[in-house]
Every structure is written in structure tokens, then in C-alpha cells.
Symmetry: C2
DNA sequence: CAGGATTTGTTCGTATGTATA
DNA sequence: TTATACATACGAACAAATCCT
């Protein structure tokens, strides 16, 4: 019943902060409280009605403030249960040598990769162009669900040229690693040529696989990996649960 | 009434494509038709019921196929009017010298930047850490709406240290450029130190400013720019309309 | 402006085949 | 083998947005 934060530590008209909208003041207030540790990861914030009473504002104003924090990934509202402080996101560096297993492994998490589907199919226009093969040449498509410490992070679709790696699916299922699969076919090193990033809403299948809400945003990362000699070896289209990680581009 | 594509060019059981699900065959079929130019940018696809009749499948199966194309940004459905072929996205390279005006200008589009709000405020924890100043030190916050050829691309919030750039808002309003604003304060060159990318759903304010639907995904790009000497000069949090561009990381 | 036709969005239900445990 | 879960596919009805007369 009693709100968690010390009474009087926050509230209406605490200081001269004119010229700032009410909701922004409330949002800033809670951000400060979260950053300073007053609320820890996973903590539940007071109910919106309680916050509204405390600040003596309409509940809508509180909702506007919480929406701001939610959009920035600081809190997350769950209908029927409350608003909770989000944990820090997994930092996913993007660079010349992007390897899922290394990134997640360095974060001290158990790496998982499950092959949920695979198919040998003729290359469509976009895949053929990226792999520098002819349209219609056979490619192996691997649909992989990657997890970090039991939490699904990314649903990825990878295409490899079937001419040189016909049973890539079998090898991946055994090794559970793209890097090891490529190594099996004699490709001991490769690097990222280009990465294209956009965002979309999760479709029903990805939402279920990633265990996220059905209209949650996903980061769509399209990439091409090449050998040191510049030969394309795999192109991928990965959908990341946007609320679980942040892509980091170092310069 | 007559479907646009030549009768017989697509339909059920056109060839030996066993082992592939119905919806994927339909999706591939339409992707091919779009890639080959049978449907141009902005064209409307036949109604779902018409496609279903043509392929002799249930409407759900068609919807599954179109959902696949929509998730990949190839088409976009609008309730009540139809499903339309999307135009190519603006490629937005991310690198050491990321400048909005240069990127958009090189694409042959007119660059726009409108200061929609500004405030001098004490730095919160996150901003202070990025700018390497003390919490509570004054910073200038600029809310900028950037457009490319009349189309809103990005809603950005930038923070600059007020100690050295107190009237940055006035200067920006005159120059309509962050680069020129920094130059006015003697910073002739700067470069991107780090870029963090995640995705979220647009809040009501950003949705209105970006002229996108209220629950559409936005790419959230947080960045820090520094002088060649390493002194942070501006940190930004930009929300991009994800359906209008793709971020490109070259390696 | 009204109202009907069109079109996509949503939610029930049913059935089948296939991996997985 | 059984049981469970999942993906595919079909059917019917309704809701909601848009377009057109």
C-alpha cells in the first residue's frame, strides 16, 4: 500500500522546474530513481493510480510519463500485473568479426542454437545477388533460433551455396555453430562484409519463437559474410528481440 | 476484375515444387513478380480473396504469404484499401563521419531540419556520463525533426553542454544544421564515437511527428560525437521511421 | 453527407501431418 | 508406443477501415 520510495522524496512542485511538461518531470523523476538504484532491475513501480495520487496529476499524465520510459526500454508495463524495471540489455557489437557465440559467451551466458527448419531451394534474386551466384542455383536455407542463457535472442535465416556445402544442415545440427559448419567445409576464417539494419513488427511465428508479444518490434539485421579473399560464404537475415538487446557499432 | 498478372503465369500446381509449403510458394511467386517488375512500386496487389481464388487456397494461406512479404518490407497492407508494393528504402550508412545532411543530400533529396522544441536543463545521469560532465551540469536539449524530400525521416533529441554552447538552440534555428551549429562554437570537425541501435514502438508524439501509425516500429539510434581530441560535444537519441530506411554498417 | 461495397484484420472452430519428449 | 506441441491448411463469421456512388 505504502509506495516504495520514501514519502516526500518525489512529488508535485518540488522545485523550480517550470517550462517542462508535467509528464516529462515525472518521467525524469522516475528515471533518476531507477538510475540511482532506488528501483532495481525487476522491481515493480507503484500502480499508476498511486503515482497519480502522489504527484496529484491525472492518471493519463502518469501513463504518458511511463510510456516515455517504456519506449526507451527502461521499464516495461504488463497488463494486469504492473510496470517493472527492465534489466540491462545484451550489448551486441557489430563489426568485421561478428560471431554470435563469442558475443554471448563473453557475456557469461550459455549459447544455444537450434535448427528449427532447413531446406535446399533455388536461390531467389536477392540471395543470389548477395552470394554472387546465379538465380536458381541451389542454396541451403537454415532457420536457426539462437538463445543466450535459455532466453531466445534471435531468429535467423541463413543461406549457404549448396554447390560447396550441400549438407550444411546436417553439419550445423551436429556442431550447432555456423562458424564450425563453415570450418567443416574448409572455410577457416570469414568476416562481415556489410550489415543492413531495419526494424519491423514480429510476425506470429517469430513472436512465438522469440517468446515476445505479437506486435513487439524486432531488429532485422541482414548481413553478408565473406572469406578473406572476398568470396561470399553465407548471407543471413536475423530478427532480434529488440527489448532484449542493443546493437553497438564501434567506430 | 481481371487480375493484373497474366492468367496462367501463376497459380496452383505450376510445376514440381513439392516439399515446400503452400504459403511459401505463393510468397515466392509474388516476390518474383515484384522483383521482375510485374508489380511496380506503389502498385496494389489483387485482393486477398482474389489471390485465394486464383491459387485455390484458403484466404488464411494467402494472408500468411503476404505477412511474410510484409515482414520483409516488400509489401504493406492497409486495411480497407489493399496491399501495396513498398518503395526502396533510404540507405543510411553508419560510420565514423555520419552526417544527416550529407547522407540525404547525396541521395538527391532536399534536406530539412526543424527545431520543434528546446530546453536548457540539468544533465541526467545517462547524458552526463556520455558527455563526460557532472550530473546536474546544464545541457541544451534540441528536439529536431529531420526530413528528406518533405518526408519525415527521424525525430532526434540532441544534448550539448550548455557551458560552452549556451545558445545552441538559437544557432541551430538559424543554421538548421548540427554540423554548422558546432562550427559556430569553434568545433570545426567531429566524428562518431559509438552508435547503439535498438528498436521500439513509436510513442504518440513521435508517431505524429514522423507521420507513421501509432504502433509502428522505430529504430532508436543513440550516439556520441567527439572532437578529434576525444572531447564529447553532442549526444543524440534519434528515432527513425523504420519503414522508410535501412541503416547500413560497412566493414 | 449517407450508405453500401470492398478490403483487410481478428477470432472462433476443425482437421491433418510431423517433429519432439 | 503414447503424448504433447507445433505448423499447416481450410471454413465461417464478424469487425473495422476505406473507397465509391
Amino acid at each position: 500500500m505504502a509506495p516504495k520510495h520514501p514519502s516526500g522524496s518525489r512529488g508535485p512542485a518540488t522545485s523550480s522546474s517550470e517550462g517542462v511538461t508535467l509528464w516529462r518531470r515525472i518521467a525524469d523523476d522516475f528515471e533518476q530513481a531507477i538510475v540511482t538504484g532506488e528501483y532495481a532491475s525487476g522491481d515493480r513501480l507503484p500502480a499508476e493510480t498511486d503515482i497519480a495520487a502522489q504527484f496529484r496529476v491525472n492518471r493519463h499524465t502518469v501513463r504518458r510519463a511511463l510510456a516515455e520510459l517504456a519506449e526507451r526500454g527502461i521499464v516495461k508495463a504488463s497488463r494486469g500485473s504492473g510496470t517493472f524495471v527492465e534489466g540491462p540489455k545484451l550489448a551486441y557489437p557489430i563489426g568485421r568479426r561478428t560471431r554470435f557465440s563469442e558475443i554471448v559467451g563473453q557475456a557469461g551466458l550459455e549459447v544455444g542454437g537450434r535448427l528449427v527448419a532447413h531446406e535446399t531451394e533455388p536461390a531467389k534474386d536477392s540471395v543470389a545477388r548477395l552470394l554472387k551466384i546465379a538465380v536458381g542455383d541451389l542454396v541451403v536455407r537454415l532457420d536457426i533460433l539462437r538463445t543466450a542463457g535459455r532466453v531466445p535472442i534471435c531468429a535467423a535465416t541463413s543461406w549457404l551455396p549448396a554447390q560447396t556445402m550441400a549438407d550444411a544442415a546436417k553439419v550445423y545440427r551436429a556442431t550447432r555453430s555456423i562458424t564450425k559448419t563453415l570450418a567443416h567445409f574448409g572455410i577457416s576464417d570469414y568476416q562481415r562484409q556489410e550489415t543492413r539494419i531495419t526494424a519491423a513488427l514480429a510476425d506470429s511465428i517469430d513472436a512465438k519463437r522469440l517468446d515476445i508479444g505479437w506486435l513487439q518490434p524486432v531488429l532485422v539485421v541482414e548481413s553478408v559474410d565473406v572469406t578473406p579473399a572476398g568470396q561470399p560464404v553465407v548471407t543471413s537475415r536475423a530478427r532480434f528481440a529488440a527489448d532484449r538487446l542493443v546493437l553497438v557499432v564501434k567506430n
